[in-house]
């Protein structure tokens, strides 16, 4: 004869077995899930060094860093002026130009549109004298800040340092 305590004992055993089984499946799934994360060799591509001594005012180069394009622009005084002027305007993603360029002359930007990751076109293509993303029409200014279009954020400034007067190191050493 099955008593009430037998039934609750069976319920408990069923639940406990189920819980252990679920934990086991989750544990077994983890290596599969984790195998999709960047592998060690991908993670090791940390920094890119750029010689900026050859850049003329107004000139821009694109360099690869971790497989992504980075814009290095030597800004003209007019471009710096335009960027600073816009500091006090109502920006979608407020940021001061001085916080975005360690040396006002050099603007270093991760050149991936914050909308959907296209590479914006070079300086001077967008409204506000900056960069136009051709995919969905986002306009960034001469500080790489979003001014118009669907992108939600400014172009990110990657971590960078000047090793000496002419060598720029992108990425954390």
């Amino acid at each position: 004869m099955v008593t009430e305590s037998d039934e609750s004992r069976r319920d408990f055993l069923t639940l406990a077995t189920g819980a252990v089984g679920a934990a086991g499946v989750a544990g077994a799934a983890w290596p599969f899930v984790k195998s999709w994360s960047p592998s060690a060799d991908v993670l090791s591509q940390a920094t890119t060094e750029v010689d900026v001594s050859g850049l003329a005012p107004g000139q821009m180069i694109t360099v690869p860093w971790q497989g992504k394009p980075v814009f290095v622009l030597r800004r003209t005084p007019a471009q710096i002026e335009a960027a600073r002027k816009a500091d006090n305007e109502a920006l979608p993603d407020p940021a001061k130009d001085a916080d975005r360029a360690k040396k006002p002359e050099y603007l270093v930007l991760l050149a991936l549109c914050t909308h959907l990751g296209c590479v914006p076109q070079p300086i001077g293509t967008g409204n506000f004298g900056g960069f136009l993303c051709p995919c969905h029409g986002s306009h960034y200014d001469t500080s790489g800040r979003i001014r118009q279009g669907p992108a939600p954020k400014n172009l990110p400034v990657p971590h960078y340092e000047f090793k000496d007067e002419k060598t720029l190191v992108i990425g954390k050493v």
Partner: protein, 403 residues
């Protein structure tokens, strides 16, 4: 022969299954040619799996080799050009056939009770088709492959909190790259087989409740139906003939009609093509994505939600339509809404094809305005269909008692 079949049937009832589900399977006698598109879709799926399997035997998923290996298939492999052109054009024809199939279901109310589960399996197939097509397009590793992959995977970054990490996880790196290409190849190989499985569920659900028909009414007696064989086998084969003529015209005489010239440029992560467009079958959804650009920092997430919602809303269609009549044949208002919806989808496709900042009438009308309007009409269809049926605004015409 019959002795062998007797022996088999005693162990596995093959003859009985073929009889009840194929040869003698009762089918409405009034199905029109729009009902050919389901079996056409199956034909294209088989073409895709067959050509895809043999392409996979020559293909290599490697960021340094894939572009060249596709050209190697085109130039060196025996009939490699045929396999690839049939596969690439097959994708376009698959969507054409399936879009007609879906619209047929919408017009004749095939999603209505008791066919909801049948309808849901169909949407799941459609959804997986989109994923498969997207990942397949990445494999030739041209400029459009690369940037299409970049834009679509970046959609995930719109998800709050986990979005950014999720994208890195999908990429297996900090940008679309070799690991991405490899996993897309593996999934592109796997998904069609999963689709095939869901097609079997789709057919099971169909055979459980039987086909709808152009009048959208239930069958009453044996006189309403005819056996599937030979009546619909012959009709399906006739459709196959017409389809193959059109398909072959493209494969042999205009194989690049649906392909983008930019995809014959090797992938370059440092430069986005000036004008990236998805394949034509994604254009309406792409236009919906781009049309939401007026919500500031919420635009991205809202655009993604609108795009996904445009497909997800199909799941609730069976519950939005409250009319006592299934077929739009007898529903004058629904019929008009339907055709507005069809034209709207085509206009959305055209908007999606054009650059984001394009204008018409010498700049007087930005396309984005048309895109927003058409997005509103797209969702408006579902709302209005609910409104005119739930609020009894539509007066349906007399429905025949039997077919």
């Amino acid at each position: 022969m019959s002795k062998i079949m007797e022996w088999v049937d005693a162990r596995l009832p093959v003859t009985e299954l073929l009889k009840s589900q194929a040869t003698e399977y009762p089918t409405p006698k009034n199905l029109n040619y729009w009902w050919n598109f389901g079996s056409l879709a199956l034909l294209v799926l088989i073409i895709m799996i067959a050509t895809g399997l043999f392409l996979a035997m020559h293909y290599k998923a490697d960021a340094n080799q894939s572009f060249d290996v596709v050209e190697h298939i085109m130039r060196d492999v025996n009939y490699g050009w045929l396999l690839r052109y049939a596969h690439a054009n097959g994708a376009s024809f698959f969507f054409m056939v399936v879009y007609v199939h879906i619209l047929r279901g919408m017009y004749y109310g095939s999603y209505r009770q008791p066919r909801e589960i049948l309808w849901w399996f169909g949407i799941i197939i459609f959804f997986m088709m989109m994923g498969t097509a997207f990942m397949g397009y990445v494999l030739p590793w041209g400029q459009m492959s690369y940037w299409g992959a970049a834009v679509i995977t970046n959609l995930m970054s719109a998800i709050p909190v986990i979005g950014e990490d999720l994208v890195v996880w999908i990429w297996g790196g900090f940008s679309v790259g070799d690991p991405t290409l490899n996993r897309f190849f593996a999934l592109h190989f796997l998904l069609p087989l999963v689709i095939f499985g869901v097609v079997i569920l789709h057919l099971w659900a169909l055979h459980a409740v039987h086909s709808n028909n152009p009048d959208g009414i239930d069958l009453h007696d044996a006189k309403d139906s005819i056996p599937f064989h030979p009546y619909y086998t012959i009709k399906d084969f006739y459709g196959y003939g017409i389809f193959m003529i059109i398909f072959c015209i493209f494969v042999f005489y205009a194989p690049n009609f649906f392909l983008e010239p930019d995809n014959y440029i090797p992938a370059n992560p440092m430069q986005t093509p000036a004008h990236i467009v998805p394949e034509w079958y994604f254009l309406p959804f792409y236009a919906i994505l781009r049309s939401i650009d007026f919500l500031g920092s919420f635009s991205k997430l809202a655009g993604v939600l609108a795009m996904v919602g445009a497909i997800m809303i199909l799941f609730v269609l069976p519950f939005l339509d409250r009319s006592p009549v299934r077929s739009f044949r007898y529903r004058p208002l629904s019929k008009q809404l339907f055709w507005i919806f069809v034209v709207d989808c085509i206009v959305l496709g055209w908007v999606g094809y054009n650059p984001a900042d394009a204008t018409i009438f010498n700049g007087a009308l930005p396309l984005i305005i048309i895109g927003r309007t058409c997005t509103a009409i797209y969702f408006g269809y579902f709302f209005l269909l609910w409104a005119i049926t739930a609020l009894d605004i539509e007066k349906h015409q007399p429905v025949p008692k039997s077919i």
